[in-house]
Symmetry: D2
Subunit: 276 residues, 4 copies
Amino acid sequence: MRTGVNDRSDLPIALVIGGGGMGMSTARRLGQSHRIILASLTADKNPKREELLREDGIDATVTQCDITDPESVADLGRFVAERGQLRTLAHVAALSPATGDWRTVLTANLIGVTHIERMCLGLATQGTAAIFVSSLAAHRSDPPSDEIISVLDDPLAPDFFERLEALVPEQESVLAYRLSKFSVNRMCRRRASEWGARGARIVSMSPGLIATPMGAREFSGQSGELKRELLRSTPLQREGTMVETADAIEFLASERASFITGTDLLVDGGTLAAVR
Amino acid sequence: MRTGVNDRSDLPIALVIGGGGMGMSTARRLGQSHRIILASLTADKNPKREELLREDGIDATVTQCDITDPESVADLGRFVAERGQLRTLAHVAALSPATGDWRTVLTANLIGVTHIERMCLGLATQGTAAIFVSSLAAHRSDPPSDEIISVLDDPLAPDFFERLEALVPEQESVLAYRLSKFSVNRMCRRRASEWGARGARIVSMSPGLIATPMGAREFSGQSGELKRELLRSTPLQREGTMVETADAIEFLASERASFITGTDLLVDGGTLAAVR
Amino acid sequence: MRTGVNDRSDLPIALVIGGGGMGMSTARRLGQSHRIILASLTADKNPKREELLREDGIDATVTQCDITDPESVADLGRFVAERGQLRTLAHVAALSPATGDWRTVLTANLIGVTHIERMCLGLATQGTAAIFVSSLAAHRSDPPSDEIISVLDDPLAPDFFERLEALVPEQESVLAYRLSKFSVNRMCRRRASEWGARGARIVSMSPGLIATPMGAREFSGQSGELKRELLRSTPLQREGTMVETADAIEFLASERASFITGTDLLVDGGTLAAVR
Amino acid sequence: MRTGVNDRSDLPIALVIGGGGMGMSTARRLGQSHRIILASLTADKNPKREELLREDGIDATVTQCDITDPESVADLGRFVAERGQLRTLAHVAALSPATGDWRTVLTANLIGVTHIERMCLGLATQGTAAIFVSSLAAHRSDPPSDEIISVLDDPLAPDFFERLEALVPEQESVLAYRLSKFSVNRMCRRRASEWGARGARIVSMSPGLIATPMGAREFSGQSGELKRELLRSTPLQREGTMVETADAIEFLASERASFITGTDLLVDGGTLAAVR
């Protein structure tokens, strides 16, 4: 018998995509009821992430994955399947408008998300739940034109960027972010029947202003005044915390949400209601 | 010391409006963490309701209220205030299209709801949460015109029906139901800032096809074929249960939803996603 | 597709033994996360019990079982096995000292319990949890002599009563109750290794003074003054409720108690601590 | 409005005593539903602890306290009282037999615990819960003599060590550990009435073999073979995890345990049942 480890082969698997602050807080929360497999692009930090989760009593394995690379995603699928039954997917990884340009943001936040969704559907069985962390940004503007939507609905098409860029002249990262998040929420609605056929669920969760280190930097950046105005308008008069996003993810993943699929849960302190 | 009772003066108060099946199942669920005050129109059945809740170990008081009567709602407010701090409101009471005509449905489902919302806002303090049970019907059609919406936004206006009926020629109960549920969800968004100013939250929860005695009858009634078709389209391939609506209400009422306000949670097994 | 039912084939099975007040409140609680099979001796009331549970949105089947009859218990085991995997056993059924004599109480509360434990061990797999509702009475007196204990440890022996009665001259129902509850707690400790070998858990839960209809009657009966004195001594200065016993059973059955086995949880408001 | 912080003035306070692995995992768990004040002796590490908790979205303040110093404990009490209402105490700090001698272990694990219990009783109101982490060691041997117990019951007496050492010739740290843990569980029973008079609860939680870094070292140390044998005897055939001790603490602190006081919850995978 091995000692000093947190071996929980009695628990089902949760796959968490994303090694940043919200990825770690999600892994800690789901680690209360799952064995965790955390996938993150930045392989050099993964041993430290695994150590931190294990120090907290969690049965955690952290592995490298580039979600924009189909081969890497397929490898991750095999890695999960070898270890047991996937109960929960929490996709947290995303580029913010500040950390990537138009194509990079769409590649990570839409194409990468789609690769993960397809792979995990293949692992889904009765009771599996997939939660995709989206954003208030998915809701804030009017929806794009039907023409644009029909392109966004097929992000794995070989000519995806060509067709999209023919329709969208201003190829800026803020817009890429909005379109990608709009599309993630839409994907969760459109794919609910496929997941349902396996007894599985797929939902998005859209956080508003959340107190994260990345979020804090944005208050002082270019979009600082806009964010401060949003915060002043927020009915609950504060930012949310990563405890509260984890609360929502945990609920959506749990059997308490067993009739919730194909929809979005907005966790924004009322911001959208106040500014829409 | 009194014995054989379930005295839980240590618990905060949940007010549940509605004594039907979902009202009782909601009272049972919230009764795990609250003292219950259940308000129902049908006074003759209230002693039996109180007995059933008490048999389950719940500190429950069942009282009469006609939510369409401002005096009766004011009395209910005093009744609650005398007993302690309101932590949770769960408004469940509603007329289905089959149980009322155009004006009756709007009076119960929109004017009555508004009276309750106003009264409970007066009792709300830090941590209070109000959950209004709405319906998938709130989402199924295109929204009404801006003109109609502006009338629906002020259901307590003395000329409410006159103005509404001037805009809506077909005054049928199915439409009354849809408009009332659309308006309840909208009310929860529009009132989030008022509730937030007190540190309180207000949300709607929209159930889809739920297995209730009332629901079962509708499968054989006029709208039976429509409901059967909706059920066949539902990604989870089944009706939901009142356990699952109680799960959603309990979550929205809990501190785990502390950053969720001014929005709607759809609990429909994916029906809307599949048919929209 | 059937409608108007609460079909939850997605959920694991909880078997609840006992159709009285605490059995029903336990079934309602576990019915939030399980399909319920409730077994009760009084077959004529079972259709009503099933109806009440189904009205609350629970997937419930109520069946007859005489736990003192090995054949009836074996039938129950087959009934459960045909329907799916047993996740949880909650054994609630018990005779109070007022409702049976020496042999009747021991037959129900010890021999019957042992039949159920043996049968359910045969159905247990990784993650199964068995909770036996015991009583404060298990803790209140000094333990019996080693000789008596060794007889109590084998209640299925053909000469059980002969050997026990040779050692215990005063064969009264109050003593039968205490000995049976002492033995149930002891059984949960002694059988933990057998259950553990299957990855399963077995625990007892000992309620103190709980507000039940049966309990209320006892305040006015023979033992009324004793009970009143116990209540006055209770640190929390009140009786517990069946919500609180359900809370304890739900916790012990859940994965949140995954390292708790072979022990007892006392839910008595501190009574034992104050009077021991 | 401050940004980038996790200000949760809407939440009640949990005081966690102990900054080691289990203290941090307890703070993370209770931080899901409380503002955290963590008190630890090793002040130099406190800023890092606060940073780690805040990175996880928790409203956490980490402060220095020497629980063996009555003045320091009184300061901590004032620090808590200034910040709000104490809902939960989780006392985790303890010296293991390997990290202190006879007097040091008793001073930390019994005298220090008593100072904290007295101070927190002064802050307790309706709904406050105190959880003291004890140990399987509290249960493993026969209880000490009545004479020794009467000395242990008054650890703040000026001649405590003189009286105790007159009765206990072998003054070894392993024995000090056992006596201190025995006394902590006993304290929770004996003090239940005082806490109950304020509507508050006090319980101990006794973990068995838990996978911690400290625990892992002990498998290779002097007591390694004994621990390995205990583990082989454990019904669940594994060590527990700090997730599972946090599960137990969270439950005991919650309103779901509202009728549990003056008792101990053993979280040991059945070890005690198997070896007693």
